[in-house]
């Protein structure tokens, strides 16, 4: 078997007394799309942020292309992050820059591409996600949520990353726009042949973009497998989640 693109072993993270990640084991093979599902507050975002180096886990190992990345210097970290592209939940576009400069950001800042050349590439990437040239001149705040997501996707793929992270790609979108974004993700990923790791609680989206699905509950991966197998997982936690039932082994912590 090839070296996994991303490999997590026993990753543990706590905030104060609260254990958020309780020994996560996870592997993503090259060219594979893994989707992590789970409720709010189960540690999905923290997992992503640990891989990106935004949060440092207390214990455990995270390897990217076989390279240990948990204790890297700032400059080595920047080099690793060049392999990554990320689509944020709220798109996280820079509102001080026009759309095209958002898309071209990694090219200009990280890869030293000239502004004219970078703009040309940015407009191509915008076209790829179905946005016209004029959109490039607008400010991000002038765009609708769906368009912002597209720009976010264009920015994530602009520097031709090997691995793309999707953080709740469909949250806050209407069902049709959500499907458009899902289709776009699947198409882009297939075209580029990249590895992806996504987190979501939207099962429709998960079924659409995943090859494999892993479920996170209380800081642990409680089930992982091919998406075709998720309906016969035999795991009552998974069953409750994918069918969205209030009754079941997962208890919401709600004061009554």
């Amino acid at each position: 078997m090839a070296t996994p693109k991303i490999e997590l072993k026993g990753v543990t993270k706590r905030f104060g007394p609260k254990v958020v990640l309780d020994g996560i084991d996870l592997g993503v093979q090259p060219g594979e799309s893994l989707v992590i599902i789970g409720g709010s507050g189960t540690g999905k975002s923290v997992t992503l942020k640990c891989i990106l180096g935004l949060i440092h886990p207390e214990r455990g190992s995270i390897k990217v292309d076989g390279q240990e990345v948990t204790r890297l210097s700032a400059s080595a970290r920047e080099k690793v992050n060049r392999k990554f592209g990320m689509l944020f939940q709220g798109s996280a576009l820079f509102d001080s820059l026009p759309v095209w400069e958002n898309v071209a950001f990694a090219l200009i800042q990280g890869h030293g591409v000239g502004r004219d050349q970078a703009k040309k590439i940015a407009l191509q990437k915008l076209a790829k996600v179905g946005l016209t040239k004029d959109v490039g001149e607008l400010s991000p705040s002038e765009l609708s949520g769906g368009m912002q997501k597209r720009v976010g996707l264009a920015r994530a793929i602009a520097a031709d990353p090997e691995i793309i992270f999707f953080d709740e790609p469909t949250t806050g979108l209407d069902p049709i726009m959500a499907d458009v974004i899902n289709e776009l993700i699947v198409k882009t990923v297939k075209d580029m042949g990249v590895t992806t790791l996504s987190i979501t609680h939207d099962m429709v989206s998960a079924r659409k973009i995943a090859d494999k699905i892993a479920m996170l509950y209380k800081g642990k991966i409680i089930w992982a497998g091919r998406k075709e197998d998720i309906d016969k997982s035999g795991n009552e936690f998974v069953d409750q989640f994918i069918h969205g039932r209030a009754e079941g082994p997962i208890k919401m912590e709600i004061a009554r």
Binding site: M86, A92, D95, Q109, G110
Partner: protein, 257 residues
């Protein structure tokens, strides 16, 4: 609640805040001198921090100089010392009031703006986005602001010194009956280079404090609109207090005999 526990908790909170701030400053300082250096962003910040603060700083200095002249005249009257208005005005403005008033005004304007901007970038994940785009937020966001503030503040204070003296001169000649050329000659004869330069050193230190407090509180803000609001308040308050405390320390060091 146990009062000892309260004191202990407060002390730990205070010390950990100082530790975090020191850590932040230790990350920020090397990022100023190591490439990549974002000259264009630094230029933008020079405009926003320095140039656009000119009206506020100028007006503040003008009225401060005027009020100072008035007070010295009224107070000095009791000892027959009212003729020393020009000398005391220029000393007071260049050594203390110029840098402190400019520092406080710029703290209100700039620390708040920086904290709100970086705070919003933090809660909307724009700072995280920078990292995923292989850009160091300290170099891209913090360093240009600190450099711009440290360069801007001495320039602003130099302007404030001139306008402050001018304010004193206006009041002196218009309502206190001073002869214009005598006032100016007394001012020029009395003031020394070290009076002005000591004020400019203070200004540079205040510039560092202003930008550092804005960046620190903005960078570490969390929890949406309320968090950003809190960060903004904390930035201004802590910058103002640190400016006043630093001013005292620098006065005692610069003017100790």
């Amino acid at each position: 609640m146990n009062p000892f526990a309260l004191i202990g908790r407060f002390t730990i909170l205070f010390l950990s805040e100082i530790g975090r701030l020191a850590e932040f400053a230790a990350d920020a300082l090397p990022s100023i001198i190591t490439p990549p250096i974002y000259l264009r962003l630094t230029g933008e910040q020079l405009m926003r921090i320095g140039f656009y603060s000119l009206p506020v700083v100028g007006l503040t200095a003008f009225f401060t100089g005027g009020a100072l002249a008035l007070q010295i005249f009224i107070g000095g009257d009791r000892y027959g010392a009212e003729s020393f208005v020009p000398q005391i005005v220029v000393l007071g403005i260049t050594r203390e009031l110029g840098p402190v008033m400019a520092g406080l005004m710029v703290a209100g304007r700039v620390s708040a703006a920086i904290a709100a901007e970086l705070g919003t970038m933090r809660v909307t994940e724009q700072i995280d986005a920078l990292v995923t785009l292989s850009t160091n937020p300290f170099k891209y966001l913090v360093a240009p602001r600190i450099v711009a503030a440290v360069i801007s503040m001495p320039l602003l204070v130099a302007v404030a010194d001139v306008i402050g003296v001018f304010g004193g001169w206006v009041v002196g000649t218009q309502s206190l009956g001073f002869n214009s050329s005598v006032y100016l000659k007394n001012t020029a004869d009395f003031v020394t280079n070290s009076d002005v330069i000591s004020g400019l050193w203070k200004a540079a230190a205040f510039g560092f404090i202003i930008a550092l407090m804005g960046c620190y509180h903005g960078y570490h803000s969390r929890g949406g609109a309320q968090g950003v609001g809190g960060a903004t308040t904390n930035a201004v308050v802590s910058a103002a207090i640190l400016i006043l405390a630093t001013n005292y320390v620098m006065t005692s060091l610069l003017f100790s005999r």
